[in-house]
Amino acid sequence: MDAAKLAYMANQIARNFDAIGHDKAALATADHIDKFWDPRMKADGFRILDNDPDLLGPAAKRALETLREGHDPAPQTRATEFNAVNEGGRSDAG
C-alpha cells in the first residue's frame, strides 16, 4: 500500500501518544499497530523502514522496528485489552 499514506497513519498514532514520552509512545504505537493492522499493512510498514525511513517520525519508526524484531507488545492502553474467551464485560462498539 502507498508508503506515504501508511507512514502518515503510523505517525498520526504516535503523535497522539506523544504526551506520554517517547519510549512509552513507541510501545503504545507498536501495540496499536499489532492489534489493528492487517498483515499486508504491517509488511508494507516494515518496508518503509528500509526504503523510506525518513517518512517516519521517531516513535512511529521505533514502533515498526519493535514489531519487525518480532516483539509482541503487551497491551499498553485499555483499548488493546480485549475480553477473554469467557468474559462478557468490555465492548468497543463503534
Binding site: N16, K35, F36, R40, N83, V85, A93, G94
Partner: protein
C-alpha cells in the same frame, strides 16, 4: 389476530413508592399514589367513558364525560383529574351519572357531522364508542350547534389530513404536540362552538407550520379529524404486529397495522421502552419505500461494470458469484476477499455476514459502517471506562439537571429521544450546547440554552480540555468520586496536564473561537449544577481526534462525579438502528462477537470448534484500507450488505477508484444504490417489514423485529447470505433467525441469556444478559467500572492537518436533517422529500456578502479533493468562516469534497472538517456531469431474453 386499539388508561402512569388501595364499583384496586381514579379503574379492568383524556398526556378535565361519584364527597368529580386516595369508595355507573353523561354526549354530537357510515374512522372512533357507551339515543339540541362543519380539510401534510368539521375540540392534539413532541405547533383558536384547532398562524396549513410531522396529534385524536391518509386509501386495519423501527438508533417500537398483506399504518407502541408511545416522521410515516417502483426484486449479474445488468435466477446468480469468489481466492489467497456488514440489518444477519467472511472467505476482512461513525466511541470509552457502550438508558435524562450536548443535533437526528430531553429542559434542567452551528435545540419553544459554545470545527479537544482546566484549577473536582472510583496516578497526571496555562480558556480562545468567559461559565455550570449528563454524536467522533474527544468527555464526566446513577453519564447518540448490534456481533476486522480479539487462541478455538474451520489469526482490513488495498491489487472481492459506501464514505473519487479496481463487487440491497454502479452482482434485499430478527438500540436494548409481510424478493436477508454461504459449500442449515441468536448466545458471554423466547416474553433486554446480569443492565458502572477503576487519559490537542488557507478559507462541516435519513436511499423514495428536496449549503451572511451570494443561488463548493455544486442558503445559524451541508442526495455528493483524513486510532473519517472555497456557479461540476452519465449507463438492465 383481530384488530384492537392499544388499551388507553386515560392518564399517564405515575411512578411512586407509596401505594393506595381504593374500591371502584366494589372492586379493590391498589395503585401508586397520585394515579387518577380513571386510571385506577382501567387498571382493574373497568372503563370510565372519556373523551378529552388519553394516557400519553396530562389530564385536562374539559369534556366532563368521565364523572364519577365518590362516597362522602359532594357532586360528581371528573375521574381523570381526581387522584385516587386510600380507602376511597368510587361508583362509576349510576343512573345519575348516566344521565349527566348522555347530556354531555348530546352536546358533542350536535356539533358533529353524522356521516359515520361513510367516515373513514367508522368503527375506529372514540366518539362513536363513547356515544354507544353512554347509551345515546337522540339529540335534543338539534344538529345545528356547529359553525365549522363547512371548514375545508387541510391536506397539505403528505401523510395525514386535518378535517376540522369532525373536531370535538378536546385539545388532545394540542397537548400531545406540547407534551409528547415538544414542538408546540398547535393552538385552539376561538371559544365555544367556534373554537377550532389551528396549526399556528391563521394563514398556516400543517405543511408550512412548525409541525415536524411526528404524528403524535394524529395518534391522540379520538375522531377522524386528524387521520392518516393511508387509512382513507386502504381502509381500517384488521390486525397488528409489534416490530422495531429500522431507521435510527433510538429504536422505537411500532404496531404495524395491516389489512391483508398491506401495511395501513405504523402506530408507536406504548409499551416500547425506548419510545414510550412516541415516534418521528421517519418511523411513523416514511415506510413507502418498501413498495417503491425502484425496488429491485430479482438477482442480477454482469461480466463487467460497463455492461448492462442481466436479470437471472437465484441459482445462476449464486453460482456466478461463488465461481468468481473461488477464482479470486485461488489466484490471490483468502485475504483478497472481504465483506461489509450492515448496521441497517438485524443482529442475526450481521452475525452471518461476518461468519461468511471469516469461515467462508477465510479472511478477517470484515468491517461495518460504525467505522465511519462511532468507532472512536468504542476506542475512547473502552480506554477510560473499560467498556464502550453508552452508560445510561433514555429514561435517565428525566433525572438530569444539566444536559451538555456536544456535536449532536438530537431534534433532527434522534427526534424521539430529543422530545424526552426537551420535556426535561422545559421542567427546568439547564442546557449547554457545544456545536459550530446553532442547532434547533439552542432556542426552541420554552427552551433556551444557558450557553452555546460555537467553536471552530476541529477544536473539540481544546474546548473540553479548557473546561477541564477550569474545573481543576477552580477546585470543582468531585474529590470523593475520583478517590473512590478512579486510578489515582492517572488522575494526578491528567490534572497536572489540564492545569497547565496553555490549556486555559483565555490561552485557547483564539484557537477555539469560544470566548473565555462563556467557557468558564459553562464549565462551572456543568460541575456544580447537579446531575450532569453528556450527550454526543458524530460531531465528536468524525474528526482526526475523534477518539481523543471521546476520552476528554469521559475525563470530564469522571472529574465531576457524573457516572453511575440515573441522570448522569456519557451517552453516545448512535446513528443507525442497529449500529450497536453490528459492533456487538463481531463486525470489526480485529475481533469476534463480544469484543474478543482474533489473535487470542482460546477465542479462535471456541469458534473453530463450533464452525468447524480454521480462522486467520491476524486482524483484517478496515473499510478505507480495503479500498487502498484494492488499488494495489491485493484486495479484489467484496460482499456489501445494506450499505452505500460510494455515497456515504469520504473522498468519493477514492472510493470509486477502489471499487472500480475490484474484480467482484457484490451489492446486496433494496435498490441499485450508488455503490452498485461499480458492482458485478446485485442480490435483492428485503425490508425490515419482511424479516424476523433483532435490533440493538443506542441503550444496548435488544428488541424483536417481526415479519409482517412476505419478502418481495422471495428471501429474507439472512437467507440470501445463507444461500451464498452454501454456494461456497459451507452447508449452513438455519431455518429461523432464532437459531442464529442461539448460536450467538452460545458463543458470546455478553449474550448468554438472550433468546427469541426471552425477548418475546420480556419485550426487550439491555445487554449484558448473563449470569451476572440475568435481566440485563439499564445503567452501567453503577457500583464500579467494568474494569476496576476509571482511567483519566491525557488528551493532547493535535490540530487537524486539514488546514484553511488562501485557496480554501472556509471550513465545511456536514450533518443530517429530520426528514431524511443518511444517504436517503429510503427516505428519498417517500413523500418526505417535501421537506427536503435537495441538499443546500448554509453560508453565514458575511461570507455570502463577500462572495456576492444570496439564498437560492447555485454555488460551487470546492476542496483540495474535489468540487460539487448546490444551492446556497444564507443564515446566521453557522458562524462566519463555517459552511454546512447534508449528504442525503446523490446528485450533490457532498463527499466528493471531503478528505481522507481520519481519526488517529480508528480511521473514522474526518467528515466534520474540510477546508473549502465557495463561489457563484451556474451549473453542475464536471464530476457531477460525468457521474450522472456513468450512473445512468451503469443502471441499465438488459431486456430479458425470451424463453425458448
Amino acid at each position: 389476530m383481530t384488530y384492537e386499539r392499544q388499551k388507553d388508561f386515560g392518564t399517564p402512569e405515575v411512578l411512586s413508592e407509596t401505594q393506595v388501595t381504593l374500591s371502584i364499583d366494589g372492586r379493590e384496586v391498589t395503585v401508586p399514589a397520585g394515579t387518577s381514579v380513571m386510571r385506577a379503574a382501567a387498571e382493574c379492568g373497568g372503563s370510565i367513558p372519556k373523551l378529552c383524556a388519553t394516557d400519553n398526556v396530562k389530564a385536562f378535565g374539559s369534556c366532563r364525560l368521565c364523572l364519577v361519584e365518590i362516597e362522602g364527597r359532594k357532586g360528581t368529580p371528573a375521574s381523570c383529574t381526581t387522584p385516587a386516595e386510600q380507602g376511597m369508595i368510587v361508583a362509576t355507573q349510576t343512573p345519575r351519572l348516566e344521565k349527566l353523561r348522555r347530556g354531555v354526549m348530546e352536546l358533542y354530537i350536535s356539533d358533529h357531522p353524522l356521516d359515520c357510515l361513510t367516515c373513514s374512522a367508522n368503527n375506529d372512533c372514540e366518539l362513536q364508542d363513547q356515544a354507544a357507551a353512554v347509551g345515546l339515543r337522540d339529540v335534543r339540541f338539534g344538529y345545528d350547534g356547529a359553525d365549522h362543519l363547512g371548514a375545508p380539510t387541510d391536506t397539505s401534510n403528505p401523510y395525514f389530513d386535518f378535517d376540522p368539521s369532525k373536531c370535538i375540540v378536546c385539545s388532545r392534539c394540542v397537548r400531545a404536540c406540547d407534551e409528547v413532541q415538544g414542538t408546540l405547533a398547535l393552538t385552539i383558536d376561538g371559544r365555544g362552538f367556534a373554537s377550532m384547532v389551528s396549526a399556528g398562524q391563521t394563514t398556516d396549513d400543517f405543511l408550512s407550520s412548525e409541525c415536524v410531522s411526528c404524528g403524535a396529534c394524529v395518534q391522540a385524536c379520538p375522531t377522524a379529524t386528524l387521520q392518516e391518509k393511508s387509512v382513507k386509501e386502504i381502509g381500517k386495519p384488521e390486525r397488528s404486529v409489534v416490530t422495531t423501527c429500522a431507521y435510527c438508533g433510538v429504536g422505537c417500537t411500532f404496531r404495524a397495522e395491516m389489512r391483508g398483506e398491506q401495511l395501513v399504518r405504523m402506530v408507536p407502541w406504548k409499551d416500547g421502552k425506548a419510545n414510550r408511545g412516541h415516534s418521528c416522521v421517519k418511523g411513523r410515516f416514511a415506510w413507502g419505500y418498501a413498495n417503491h417502483a425502484d425496488r429491485i426484486t430479482s438477482p442480477m449479474v454482469r461480466e463487467s461494470i460497463h455492461e448492462p445488468w442481466r436479470e437471472v435466477s437465484w441459482v445462476e446468480a449464486l453460482e456466478f458469484t461463488a465461481g468468481r469468489l473461488r477464482t479470486i481466492r485461488e489466484e490471490s489467497g483468502p485475504r483478497a476477499l472481504g465483506g461489509i456488514t450492515s448496521s441497517r440489518c438485524t443482529n442475526e444477519e450481521t452475525f452471518l455476514v461476518q461468519k461468511l467472511v471469516r469461515a467462508g472467505f477465510g479472511s478477517n476482512n470484515v468491517d461495518t459502517c460504525a467505522r465511519v461513525c462511532h468507532s472512536p466511541t468504542g476506542y475512547g470509552l473502552k480506554t477510560t471506562f473499560g467498556t464502550s457502550a453508552g452508560t445510561q438508558d433514555f429514561d435517565s435524562v428525566m433525572h438530569s439537571d444539566v444536559v451538555l450536548v456536544i456535536g449532536a443535533n438530537p431534534t433532527d437526528a434522534h427526534p424521539v429521544f430529543a422530545s424526552r430531553m426537551k420535556r426535561r429542559l422545559r421542567q427546568g434542567a439547564k442546557l449547554i450546547v457545544i456545536d459550530p452551528r446553532r442547532i434547533d435545540l439552542v432556542r426552541s419553544p420554552h427552551i433556551a440554552a444557558a450557553h452555546h459554545l460555537a467553536l471552530r470545527p476541529g477544536t473539540n479537544v481544546a474546548v473540553l480540555t479548557a473546561m477541564a482546566h477550569v474545573i481543576v484549577t477552580v477546585g470543582l473536582v468531585d474529590e470523593t468520586f475520583v478517590a473512590e472510583r478512579c486510578e489515582a496516578d492517572a488522575f494526578e497526571e491528567w490534572s497536572r496536564f489540564v492545569a497547565e496555562e496553555r490549556h486555559s480558556p483565555e490561552f485557547l480562545q483564539d484557537v477555539t473561537g469560544v470566548p473565555a468567559q462563556t467557557l468558564r461559565e459553562a464549565a462551572r455550570l456543568f460541575a456544580t449544577g447537579g446531575n450532569g449528563a453528556i450527550y454526543y454524536g458524530l460531531g465528536v467522533t468524525e474528526h482526526s481526534q475523534g477518539s481523543s474527544t471521546v476520552m476528554a468527555i469521559a475525563n470530564l464526566a469522571m472529574a465531576t462525579g457524573n457516572i453511575g446513577r440515573p441522570g448522569v453519564g456519557v451517552n453516545p447518540l448512535r446513528g443507525q438502528n442497529n449500529v450497536q448490534g453490528a459492533c456487538d456481533m463481531g463486525s470489526f476486522p480485529h475481533e469476534l462477537s463480544g469484543y474478543r480479539h482474533i489473535s487470542d487462541g482460546d477465542v479462535r478455538s471456541l469458534f473453530e470448534q463450533d464452525w468447524k474451520v480454521t480462522l486467520d489469526d491476524e486482524p483484517g482490513l478496515r473499510i478505507p484500507n480495503m479500498l487502498d488495498a484494492a488499488l494495489d491489487g491485493s484486495f479484489r472481492a467484496i460482499y456489501i450488505q445494506g450499505e452505500d459506501i460510494l455515497q456515504s464514505d469520504p473522498d468519493t473519487r477514492h472510493v470509486a477508484a477502489g471499487l472500480a479496481a475490484m474484480d467482484c463487487v457484490i451489492v446486496h440491497d433494496l435498490f441499485l444504490n450508488e455503490t452498485a454502479n461499480y458492482a458485478h452482482v446485485f442480490l435483492p434485499g428485503s425490508t425490515f417489514l419482511e424479516k424476523d430478527g433483532t435490533f440493538t438500540n443506542a441503550e444496548r436494548r435488544m428488541q424483536l423485529v417481526r415479519k409482517v409481510m412476505e419478502p418481495a424478493n422471495g428471501m429474507q436477508d439472512w437467507e440470501v447470505t445463507q444461500a451464498l454461504a452454501n454456494a461456497l459449500g459451507l452447508g449452513w442449515d438455519y431455518t429461523h433467525p432464532s437459531q442464529v441468536m442461539d448460536e450467538i448466545a452460545r458463543l458470546t458471554p455478553t449474550f448468554a441469556g438472550v433468546s427469541f423466547d426471552r425477548l418475546e416474553a420480556e419485550g426487550s433486554l439491555q445487554w449484558p444478559v448473563n449470569e451476572a446480569f440475568p435481566d440485563g443492565a439499564p445503567v452501567m458502572h453503577e457500583a464500579g467500572f467494568v474494569r476496576g477503576k476509571g482511567l483519566f487519559v491525557v488528551t493532547d490537542y493535535v490540530p487537524t492537518d486539514e488546514k484553511t488557507g488562501p485557496r480554501f478559507p472556509l471550513l465545511l462541516t456536514t450533518g443530517r436533517i429530520l426528514s431524511q435519513y443518511n444517504v436517503g436511499a429510503q427516505t428519498r423514495r417517500t413523500a418526505n422529500v417535501v421537506w427536503h428536496e435537495e441538499d443546500v449549503l448554509e453560508v453565514h451572511p458575511t461570507d455570502a456578502e463577500n462572495r456576492g451570494l444570496k439564498s437560492g443561488d447555485w454555488v460551487r463548493l470546492a476542496s483540495r479533493k474535489g468540487e460539487t455544486t448546490l444551492r446556497a442558503k444564507v443564515t446566521d445559524r453557522v458562524a462566519p468562516g463555517v459552511v454546512y451541508t447534508t449528504f442525503h442526495h446523490p446528485e450533490t455528493q457532498a463527499n466528493v469534497v471531503t478528505t481522507d483524513y481520519s481519526d488517529w486510532a480508528t480511521n473514522c473519517p474526518e467528515y466534520k472538517v474540510t477546508a473549502v472555497q465557495v463561489a457563484p456557479s451556474n451549473g453542475p461540476s464536471d464530476w457531477q456531469e460525468n457521474y450522472a452519465e456513468l450512473s445512468g449507463r451503469s443502471r441499465r438492465i438488459a431486456p430479458a431474453e425470451p424463453a425458448e
